[in-house]
Symmetry: C2
Subunit: 148 residues, 2 copies
Amino acid sequence: MKPVKEIAKTISASGLKITPQRIAVIQALEKLEHPRAEEIIREVSEQIPGLSPTTVYNTLDALVSKKIIRKVHTEADVMRYDAIPDHHHHLYCMQSDRMDDYFDPELDKLLEDYFRKKNIKGFRLKEVKLQLMGEFENKDKTSVEKNA
Amino acid sequence: MKPVKEIAKTISASGLKITPQRIAVIQALEKLEHPRAEEIIREVSEQIPGLSPTTVYNTLDALVSKKIIRKVHTEADVMRYDAIPDHHHHLYCMQSDRMDDYFDPELDKLLEDYFRKKNIKGFRLKEVKLQLMGEFENKDKTSVEKNA
DNA sequence: TTCTAACTTGTATTTATTACAATGTAGAAA
DNA sequence: TTTCTACATTGTAATAAATACAAGTTAGAA
């Protein structure tokens, strides 16, 4: 676990104020593995009785905006559905929340070859999904179609 | 848009019963782009007044389990956080909801080269995130560490 | 045509997250 | 060190996505 001093420095360097809550949140983030907010709240509450869940949400948002931590696995907080069951990836723009399909058999082949050679210890790989994060160059939904 | 007949056949072939609600949900899925449940509910409600949101959720779950459609962008419905701001990917097991970090500079290099050559029309790519879906071979959290 | 498992509905809950007003405090400036 | 204020925290309440469940309905097999 990182020393408190170092954590404090990181917080301070980003322009945020150092508070016991923030330090504890970062410590929890390091101790737990990809925790959800609720787990962090539970963990931090042990050290800081009377902690408000709102504080944890605020803190997480603040840390994310300063790029000290990341949100993972999803950018939007809701489930989305896809009518196309064939294997494909997604282009996604966080600003607009727009998502387009991306087909690229050449890339799939490349990845397949790569992971056939590379063995990930302790993990049986079944499927590789890519999220291509970026920005769409115009608003027209049909402009990026089946990206060949 | 696919003809109703074909949609009906797909539903039937999977062992599910053909209902107006299910056909309308699939049509909505094709019309809308990666809709969230709420958008589907709104769309389908126009054709089927008195539609229950529960039906849409049930239908989506049924279609997903039959692999007629997919859930995208997230498998769990909650936000998760990551203390490591460095670029890395994730190993994820849907069954256990376990997620591990995955570092692979060689792969990143490969992808960087690939996308430098390949220009995605209408999209300015900023970051490539991989979700490696599969199963962990044992329950020990520390067994898959910094996967070299 | 009958019958039953499968499906839909509607209400009530649960749970994650956000809004907001009041209070408290970190840390810059005096 | 003390003061001061913008930034943080708290707590309550509201919102919204998703689920549970009991009751009624229907697809489609027999």
